[in-house]
């Protein structure tokens, strides 16, 4: 079945992953200029009809699809088709890339210089590169990298150029275009720009989708976009956006190509360039507008050490095998294929499901550094109230334990086994001096003196709020590392929490609680819709295998040595549980008439700040707007909160207090779980 194509969870330990090769090594040894100017002859798609990027535009403008929509819009608005055509042409002009090898060569040269100073290594799985090369020749290819940093797409093109692979065209947000020269340079290195929102604009959608489809169908270049839609500020994978995936699957579903290869690419940074930037953004310090001068200001990063990058090109996933037995392609037989239609429910479900599978495939191949484990442990220790931090030896011991556990859970952990653990730990810590320090043999987060995030500004924090904010910056930064490992632990953690909350050991009841939690957190983590039973079984399997649980037909029992594992897993989920409870309490206690979605975050932030300062809440990471928004999304999805279309543009939030209250209680484990509306085992 299709699920096997993307991943199989049965025994994560047996998962075979390729070895990495450091591509900077050769760059350090040879001339950058010669590298940038070397002969570049990538293997191309076998069905390629070569054309220039200017011809592409004509193909789009003359496509049946676009002509149809132009006529339609013309009839609806009474505008002449010529005018609308001109409009379409202008949209295309604004959107289209102008891929030029010379620009790519320039980037190759410049980036080499930067990468060599900033990163220790850029590791790539060369077998994945070979698979990709094969795939590019066979079928149109879609590259789906994870998105954690601005670096991502430059890095992708850089790697493909280095390995002599076809350069991709990349869907980028319009905000980049604001960066004057850089925007144009990105365009010339293959980026095409799309507006962030174009809701009902039929014409825009038609131009955009046709542009992407034509490039894909003709095998013009691999099409690259980010399934997550935007950079994840939390390092957790984001709920996939479906628009572009819909577009690239369409030619396959309509039989215009035999197959499409979807290649998930996992890019993991040992240290993210935007580390504290993200934390600030999540705390409500607004995102600086992309600008070229901003980029130059950011050049201080050049003097820092950002460790290594791991890029893993996953197994290409065939759209055809994903759709096998799921989609009846003959549904497109009765209407001309160029007439735009809202995808049928069957197709929507299929695309959504595929998107989740692909994001999970990205997650699975994310390399985790030892620091990720350390960050998890340090955060838990901090939340437990140990102001003094942890003894280095204790941290090392726990890290070794966690290393083994995460490996059993199938984590792609890069822990050098030939180096003594203490050395591994101290090495990792030293790279993250901005977040941790070692004093008197104890490891602490750098929470006091407002961290050292802004060494240029001597201002000591005055108000408790400001101090809290500064601490939160460090904690959220740390959390973003811990979050990298969440996909490994999330299913067992949901089960652990369910076991913890359950009053009895009955499997069915635990499954009900598991489903409840899973449902609650499905905006927070990547949990494939409709896969409750599968996820539950996977969690059971992992926890039984690691010796934490014993499960028979009816009962789930915790073993003696299982308590430690379960405690760790419950604590991993705890900040989220408490965060969601906090949001619920806020909605019940504080919400006055007419709270809009826009005002929700500042208001809930204020509420949470109050609780943190009073000591009633211990997790500063609950201040993250990401968590707050996810919680609201979950409540909206569950119908506990409703958006009322009001007078103004913004819909006000209407809270179903009883339901929100009951959800809060259930999260807190106060009530025996009512039978949730979910599948039975």
């Amino acid at each position: 079945m299709a699920s096997k194509v993307v991943y199989s969870h049965r025994d994560p330990m047996l998962k075979k992953r390729d070895d990495f090769e450091d591509m900077l090594e050769e760059r350090r040894a040879t001339s950058d200029l010669r590298y940038a100017l070397r002969c570049y002859t990538p293997a191309l798609y076998k069905g390629l009809t070569p054309c220039k990027s200017s011809e592409l535009k004509n193909m789009v403008l003359q496509s049946d699809q676009l002509l149809y929509v132009i006529n339609q819009v013309s009839k609806e608005t009474g505008t002449s088709t010529d005018e609308i055509e001109a409009e379409a042409s202008a949209i295309l002009e604004e959107m289209a890339h102008r891929l030029q090898l010379s620009t790519v060569r320039f980037f190759a040269f410049a980036l080499t210089k930067v990468f060599k100073t900033v990163f220790r290594s850029i590791c790539v799985n060369e077998e994945g590169i070979q698979r990709l090369q094969q795939a590019i020749q066979e079928h149109p290819v879609v590259l789906l990298p994870s998105h954690r940093s601005y670096m991502d797409f430059l890095l992708m093109s850089y790697i493909l150029y280095t390995y002599d692979l076809a350069l991709p065209v990349i869907a980028a947000g319009m905000d980049f275009m604001g960066m004057k020269i850089i925007g144009e340079m990105l365009r010339m290195s293959g980026a095409f720009f799309i507006r962030r929102s174009f809701g009902g604009d039929k014409l825009y959608w038609a131009v955009f989708s046709e542009y992407v489809k034509i490039m894909l169908k003709n095998g013009y270049a691999p099409v690259e976009f980010f399934l997550e839609g935007t950079r994840s500020r939390t390092a957790k994978s984001l709920t996939p956006k479906l628009g572009l995936l819909n577009i690239v699957l369409d030619p396959f579903l309509k039989g215009e190509v035999f197959d499409v290869s979807l290649v998930p690419v996992s890019i993991s940074y040992e240290r993210i360039l935007e580390e504290t930037l993200y934390a600030r953004e999540l705390l409500g310090v607004p995102k600086p507008k992309e600008s070229t001068s901003g980029l130059f200001k950011a050049r201080k990063i050049l003097s820092e050490d950002y460790g290594s990058i791991h890029v893993y090109f996953g197994q290409p996933v065939s759209a055809r095998s994903l759709a096998e037995g799921r989609v009846n392609r003959s549904q497109f037989n009765l209407i001309p294929r160029h007439i735009p239609r809202k995808p049928a429910e069957e197709i929507q479900d299929f695309v959504n499901d595929s998107a989740y599978r692909l994001v999970r495939a990205q997650e699975e191949n994310m390399v985790l550094k030892p620091w990720v484990l350390l960050a998890s442990l340090l955060l838990q220790n901090q939340a437990a109230g140990n102001k003094q931090g942890m003894q280095l030896e204790e941290l090392t011991d726990q890290a070794v334990w966690l290393r083994d556990l995460s490996r059993q859970f199938g984590a792609f952990l890069h822990w050098p086994d030939n180096i003594p653990p203490s050395k591994v730990v101290s090495c990792s810590l030293s790279l993250h001096q901005s977040l941790v320090r070692i004093s008197e043999g104890r490891v602490q987060l750098t929470l006091e003196q407002g961290g050292r995030a802004e060494p240029g500004l001597p201002l000591p924090a005055v108000t408790p709020e400001e101090e809290l904010l500064n601490r939160a910056v460090i904690i959220l930064s740390c959390a973003s590392y811990r979050n990298q490992a969440l996909h490994v632990f999330i299913r067992p953690a949901l089960l652990a929490s369910a076991v913890h909350a359950a009053s009895v050991n009955r499997k069915q009841e635990i499954f009900n609680t598991f489903s409840f939690l899973r449902n609650m957190f499905s905006d927070e983590f990547i949990l494939r819709p409709g896969a409750e039973v599968q996820d539950f079984e996977e969690a059971c399997y992992l926890l039984v295998k690691s010796g934490a649980l014993q499960i028979n037909q009816q009962q789930v029992l915790v073993t003696d040595r299982g308590h430690r594992t379960l405690a760790f897993l419950t604590s991993i989920l705890d900040p989220f549980v408490q965060g969601y409870q906090m949001v619920c309490r806020f909605l019940c206690e504080e919400v006055a008439e007419g709270l809009t979605e826009k005002l929700f975050v500042p208001a809930v932030r204020k509420f949470i700040t109050k609780h943190l300062l009073s000591g009633r809440l211990k997790y500063a990471e609950v201040l993250s707007s990401d968590l707050q928004k996810n919680a609201l999304a979950a409540l909206l999805r569950l119908g506990a909160v409703q958006k009322v279309r009001g007078r103004g543009e913004q819909g006000a939030l209407k809270v179903n207090t009883v339901m929100v209250n009951s959800l809060e209680d259930t999260l807190g484990g106060k009530l025996p779980t009512q039978k949730p509306v979910v599948a039975r085992l």
Binding site: G255, F258, D259, N328, R329, S330, N333, R337
Partner: protein, 637 residues
């Protein structure tokens, strides 16, 4: 046109026609004023079967004992087959075809390079039918007794029965070559005329015997396979002896013909009177008029003459409920749903077609073949589409893809003169070097024009002008003609392939124009992928051609074949691939069948093809016409 009468056909026809009219003048009474009745009355009673057979066989291709002239486990005439001679060169034996007696030098290399086949590895084959492998017949004695009293000839010899137990699907022929014989008819009857059929059907109803009509035996849909679960006695009703032209009506240009006549006889006999039907399916040497009606056949030259449903004016069919026919021969009627359309495509599930009135046309004055080379398949399809849009398709226009072009090339017989081979070389040079066509992408359209000379030449120019717009280059009459010859010998080639571990099949579909390229690409790719997935050790041949154009779409023919060495159950693999290919056809907007029919092979997709209500409509007709399932071949529904 049958391959043995192509080439300098028109002049030969004219002499033949003249001679025939002289002879006819000697033999016949002065011709009737309106119609030339060429046939004799049905005199079933009082004549011994032997005498009748003697009369009948005169000038007719198919004898009662098919085994006298045809292979029992392969295609066509016993004397015609491909083989590799002592020098290792391919040769086509016999004298019947233009290719007969010729050496085909390129075939060996093509077979070896395309399939990885080798002359060293010959697949074993059962040489003669072993009657021991045949189940003894289950006879319904009462039926046999009464039948005997009617004087209609019948047989329950093993050979006769085996011949009528199969069509020409790969699995059917493969099993025969292995000497495996499953459920077969228990006896064969040869009615001589409509009235004989009426008697047989009455008796079958009376004694609850299962009847399976048999015409030319060229089915490729498992339609002739006996349902293994059938417990009644199965009687194969062979129409081959009902093969007369009953009358020709020159005023209305129609002819009344018995349903058992095979295509080549029908055309030859009509030609003798200066007429033709123009209905030339690829199987016309052996397939019968009744079979065409029962499967909704399509002829190569349908652009001029129409498909079978356009050709029939009147049909008479014997059903368990009685005889169904219209009361007049009006050219078109508005009298509710056309009852002919219950009969057309009924695949032997409702009754036996006995007589048909067909439109006829005067024989064309002039015929001309032609061919066009295109730089690639896409351009070729675009050209065909344009030709269809302008409604100027010649009698036949077919577009072969690159693989088939190469295949056609491999079938070129040895050239007799150095001059011809020099010319060939020059042509090749011009196309590939001078015009820059990639020999691995170019493809060929073959054309056949018919009509009066002037119009043909004018028409030809129009089509070539359109072709030129799509980069097409005229590539000569010879290439065109060879393309059509290939049609008749390709079935023989499959037998050769099977001698060397290569199995293959063709299948067809019809599809809207905008889907043609997509379906060709996807189905071919699916075949390649499925073969690989199913463990086929060698790359398969997966190729297609567009064989018919319509206003709203085209008919596409696929061929696939592979070397099955190393597979334990090649037929099963083959069936899986064919199944997947059909799924792909349907997923890409293709129809379940353009003209082969459904039979039992494609039954599983009928419901999704015609909807549940549609199935119900067909079923209710079956239930009314044949409540006891006398016509129990279980095709279609």
């Amino acid at each position: 046109m049958a391959s043995n009468s192509s080439g300098d056909s028109s002049s030969r026809h004219q002499t033949a026609r003249h001679r025939l009219s002289v002879i006819a003048g000697h033999l016949q009474r002065p011709a009737d004023s309106n119609a030339a009745v060429l046939a004799v009355e049905c005199k079933a009673q009082g004549t011994t079967p032997n005498v009748r057979t003697g009369v009948r066989s005169e000038g007719r291709t198919v004898p009662r004992r098919r085994q006298e002239i045809m292979k029992w486990n392969g295609w066509g005439y016993s004397d015609s087959r491909f083989l590799f001679n002592k020098k290792g060169q391919a040769e086509f034996t016999g004298k019947r075809y233009r290719l007969s007696g010729m050496i085909i030098p390129g075939l060996k290399d093509w077979l070896e390079s395309t399939f990885g086949a080798s002359l060293q590895h010959k697949a074993p084959v059962t040489p003669i039918l072993n009657s021991g492998a045949v189940q003894p017949p289950t006879l319904n004695e009462a039926f046999v007794e009464e039948l005997r009293s009617t004087g209609v000839p019948f047989s329950h010899e093993a050979e006769d029965r085996v011949f009528r137990s199969h069509g020409h699907c790969l699995h059917e022929i493969f099993a025969l070559r292995e000497g495996k014989i499953g459920r077969i008819p228990d006896m064969v009857v040869w009615p001589n005329c409509h009235n004989d059929v009426v008697k047989i059907v009455e008796l079958a109803c009376k004694h609850n015997v299962c009847l399976i009509p048999y015409g030319g035996g060229t089915s490729v849909s498992s339609a002739l396979e006996c349902p293994p679960e059938e417990s009644r006695s199965i009687v194969s009703l062979d129409t081959s002896q009902m093969n007369r032209i009953l009358w020709i009506d020159e005023k209305n240009l129609t002819a009344r013909v018995e349903s058992g006549i095979v295509g080549q006889d029908l055309e030859r006999l009509l030609n003798e009177s200066g007429y033709c039907t123009g209905h030339e399916p690829d199987s016309m040497e052996f397939s019968s008029l009744g079979g065409w009606v029962a499967t909704r056949a399509s002829g190569m030259k349908k652009n001029i003459y129409g498909n079978i449903e356009d050709l029939v004016v009147h049909i008479k069919m014997v059903t368990p409920r009685g005889v169904i026919e219209k009361s007049c021969q009006g050219p078109r009627m508005s009298t509710g749903p056309d009852i002919h359309h219950f009969i057309l495509g009924s695949e032997g599930t409702l009754g036996v077609v006995t007589e048909v009135t067909l439109k006829i046309r005067p024989m064309p004055e002039y015929q001309k073949y032609g061919s066009v080379v295109f730089p690639n398949f896409e351009q070729g399809v675009a050209c065909l589409r344009e030709v269809a849009r302008q409604r100027c398709a010649p009698a036949s226009i077919r577009l072969m893809d690159n693989e088939q072009f190469k295949f056609g090339h491999a079938l070129k017989p040895q050239v007799s003169s150095i001059f011809t081979s020099f010319l060939d070389g020059l042509k090749k040079f011009y196309i590939t070097k001078f015009k820059g066509f990639d020999p691995n992408h170019l493809c060929v359209a073959t054309l056949l024009f018919e009509g009066d000379r002037e119009k043909v030449l004018q028409h030809e120019k129009q089509v070539y002008d359109i072709a030129a717009k799509f980069g097409g280059l005229a590539a000569g009459e010879d290439n065109g003609q060879r393309g059509y010859i290939m049609t008749f010998v390709i079935a023989y080639l499959r037998d050769l392939g099977m001698d060397y571990y290569v199995i293959g099949e063709s299948f067809e579909t019809s599809v809207p124009w905008d889907r043609v390229l997509d379906i060709c690409r996807n189905v071919k790719a699916r075949i390649v992928r499925e073969c690989k997935d199913k463990g086929v050790q060698f790359p398969p041949l997966s190729t297609c051609r567009v064989t018919q154009t319509y206003d709203a779409g085209a008919c596409v023919y696929f061929y696939f074949a592979f070397n099955y060495r190393g597979l334990s159950d090649p037929v099963h693999v083959y069936e899986q691939v064919e199944h997947a290919a059909r799924e792909e056809v349907l997923a890409n907007g293709g129809s379940l069948s353009h003209h082969h029919g459904v039979g039992k092979l494609r039954k599983e997709w009928m419901r999704e093809t015609v909807s549940t209500v549609g199935m119900g409509m067909l079923q209710s007709v079956k239930d009314y016409v044949d409540p006891n399932n006398i016509f129990g071949n279980r095709n279609l529904l």
